[in-house]
């Protein structure tokens, strides 16, 4: 009887130690981090915030709804609804049209005057070029946010279907 009790006490103590040991140095994953992980990282600002991360923080604080991300479409809206424990709803029309297929920006290089305005507008550094030299979009890095289109003074940027990934 006593042996059994002692054994149980020892085991309980060991289990406690083990729990503390494994729980040591916890890495805090905030709600905003988890929301951010579900967003497509297009950084297009169609949600009215200054990028995916600010939108994620706004949702976490209850300052934004889960249906403000057109590039993420229905999938993202559903995933956000599940994470936040709210009923899913379609992407709000006021935030823009959900694209059918991914697109990337393309600079018509003959028309480019090298003004660097698009380079400054690109949120993910996907455009290369220098002042008064031709610019070009790195298609693999372009998120298709379209933020480079309005600043272009000669309208030489068009959206094209994203190149297929060869595996």
């Amino acid at each position: 009887m006593i042996t059994a009790l002692v054994t149980i006490i020892i085991l309980a103590a060991l289990a406690g130690v083990a729990t503390v040991a494994t729980a040591g140095a916890p890495k805090e994953i905030s709600l905003a981090d988890r929301i951010d992980a579900l967003l497509p990282q297009t950084q297009c600002r169609r949600c009215t915030f200054a990028g995916c991360r600010p939108y994620a923080e706004a949702i976490a604080q209850g300052a934004a709804d889960i249906n403000q991300c057109p590039p993420g479409g229905e999938r993202t809206a559903k995933a956000l609804a599940r994470l936040m424990g709210v009923p899913p709803k379609p992407v709000g029309k006021e935030f823009g049209v959900v694209p059918d297929s991914p697109a990337v920006a393309f600079i018509e290089e003959d028309a480019c005057i090298g003004c660097t305005k698009c380079i400054q507008a690109c949120p993910v550094d996907a455009i290369v070029g220098a002042s008064r030299h031709m610019h070009t979009v790195i298609a693999a890095d372009c998120t298709g946010c379209e933020l480079c289109i309005p600043p272009c003074p000669v309208d030489c940027i068009v959206m094209r279907p994203a190149p297929a990934v060869v595996r």
Binding site: D36, P40, Q43, P123, V124, D125
Partner: protein, 486 residues
């Protein structure tokens, strides 16, 4: 882990090969037109070197590889290019794909390619790889991966071990078996060429234990070559023993990492048919313009193996076999386990066409009505990739990409063993085949989202730093000016 444990799962199934192996290899009849799809190999489509109304000779290069992974294409006959246009292709399940169409003038006038190399040991390994690429050689086991690309990516310090895959495990297909029976010397010649190109120390030719004639012929050829580097290894005839990863596990007792390639453990695997094609190119100067195709099944009068030029329509091969019987019900390219159904036979033979089955209801019983999964676990016992098909099936509806990735959907080799044993008749392998590209695309999207996030963060930090530096500079500029007055 022992070899037997590694080749866990799998099935002993009826091989159905006797029908097509009775007669020796015969030459398929020539036809008027040959259709050569530009994308018949893995990787990028080849780029045409000819234009409509050009005259071409037999064995002339008609398309060159695109940069990256791609392969040369050669004309199987002499004649005239009549079109370069989309044509239905078997590897695209009958969807049209850009193809070169050649009208045969029936004269077989030859194009003089670079002289045949009598002694390939005279050229350097790099030149040998380059030479193999120029022959349009691709893997003839089914995937049609360009051989030169595979060799280049497998080069390692001491040379990888070479494995020649003669384990033709899939039912109905017998093109490799008859090749080993009748052209064992070509295989051994090709093996020696590959050993040289790879600087490889040894070569293992794997063959199943249920093909004694092929084994005997191969043994004779290996003995005749008297090359101590080449050995034969007999493996049990279990489906899918001939899968690349499964065969490597059986032969070398080592497992290829699930996200890696055989080259990562110092092995390179080639089909025996590929080795024979290399021999014909190096020794005889004949590029890959023909291959052996098994035509079998209860739906044709006379089954057999045919030396067929690439681009020959399936219908012509069927006619060579005496046409369809009245029992014919389904046309399949490939074997009965992994093959794909085709709607019609107006399709060209491509480099990957190893077998055409004209199946009757006797060959392939129609699948019964699908019923719910009863979680019996039979599928996970036969899965040769150590997956849990019942769990994967569970996570497909609704599509749970995290769990599918965690349960290794992308490691599924689509062998169909799980389908075969499923008591509820669930088409598991078909579902997995459809889901794999979706999951791969989603994982790619995750990776690019992570990269975009990192660049966005880096840019914001850079802008903040530049702004701070700018302010500091401004403050410094102002101070000396203001000092005298203050």
């Amino acid at each position: 882990m022992t070899a037997r444990e590694l080749l866990a799962g799998g099935l002993r199934i009826e091989a159905h090969k006797q029908r097509s192996t009775k007669a020796p290899i015969r030459a398929a009849s020539l036809t008027e037109r040959y259709v050569i799809p530009l994308d018949q190999h893995s990787g990028l489509p080849a780029v045409p070197l000819v234009k409509p109304s050009d005259r071409v000779r037999m064995w002339q290069p008609i398309a060159q590889p695109a940069p990256g992974i791609s392969a040369w294409l050669h004309s199987p006959v002499s004649g005239e290019v009549i079109a370069i246009e989309p044509r239905p292709a078997p590897h695209r399940l009958g969807a049209p794909t850009l193809s070169i169409v050649i009208a045969n003038d029936g004269r077989d006038r030859r194009f003089e390619n670079a002289a045949a190399i009598v002694s390939f040991e005279q050229i350097s390994p790099n030149e040998a790889c380059e030479h193999i690429a120029r022959g349009g050689i691709v893997g003839l086991g089914g995937a049609a991966f360009p051989t030169a690309n595979k060799l280049e990516s497998s080069l390692c310090e001491n040379g990888p071990q070479l494995l020649l895959n003669g384990a033709e495990c899939e039912p109905y297909i017998s093109c490799d078996e008859v090749l080993m029976r009748e052209r064992a010397e070509d295989i051994v010649f090709g093996a020696r060429a590959l050993l040289h190109a790879l600087c490889s120390p040894n070569c293992t030719i794997a063959i199943e234990d249920d093909v004694p004639e092929a084994q005997a012929a191969l043994r004779q050829a290996v003995d005749k070559a008297a090359d101590p580097r080449i050995r034969i290894k007999v493996v049990p005839a279990i489906y899918p023993a001939g899968g690349e990863r499964q065969l490597i596990a059986t032969v070398f007792d080592a497992e290829v990492p699930h996200d890696g390639l055989p080259a990562d453990i110092g092995v390179v695997c080639q089909n025996v048919g590929t080795a024979a094609a290399i021999a014909r190119w190096i020794r005889d100067g004949q590029p890959l313009v023909s291959r052996i195709v098994t035509v079998t099944g209860d739906g044709v009068s006379e089954a057999g193996n045919w030396e067929t030029r690439i681009g020959t329509p399936f219908s012509s091969l069927i006619a060579d076999c005496g046409g369809y019987t009245e029992r014919m019900s389904r046309l399949i390219m490939g074997g009965s386990m992994m093959g794909t159904s085709l709607a019609h036979d107006d399709l060209p033979v491509v480099k990957a066409t190893n077998c055409i089955i004209a199946a009757s209801a006797l060959d392939l019983q129609p699948r019964g009505l699908e019923m719910p999964c009863i979680r019996c676990g039979n599928c996970s016992q036969v899965c040769p990739a150590f997956l849990l098909p019942q769990q994967l099936h569970w996570y497909l509806q609704p599509f749970d990409s995290d769990q599918l990735a965690r349960h290794g959907l992308l490691d599924c080799i689509e062998c169909g063993c799980c389908d075969y044993v499923c008591p509820s008749q669930i088409p598991l392998a078909e579902r997995f085949r459809e889901a794999k590209p979706l999951l791969a695309r989603e994982l790619d999207a995750h990776l690019s989202a992570d990269a975009a996030r990192a660049r966005f963060v880096a840019r914001n930090e850079r802008l903040a730093r530049l702004e701070a530096e700018h302010r500091a500079k401004l403050a410094q500029k102002r101070r000396p000016k203001n000092e005298p007055t203050s």
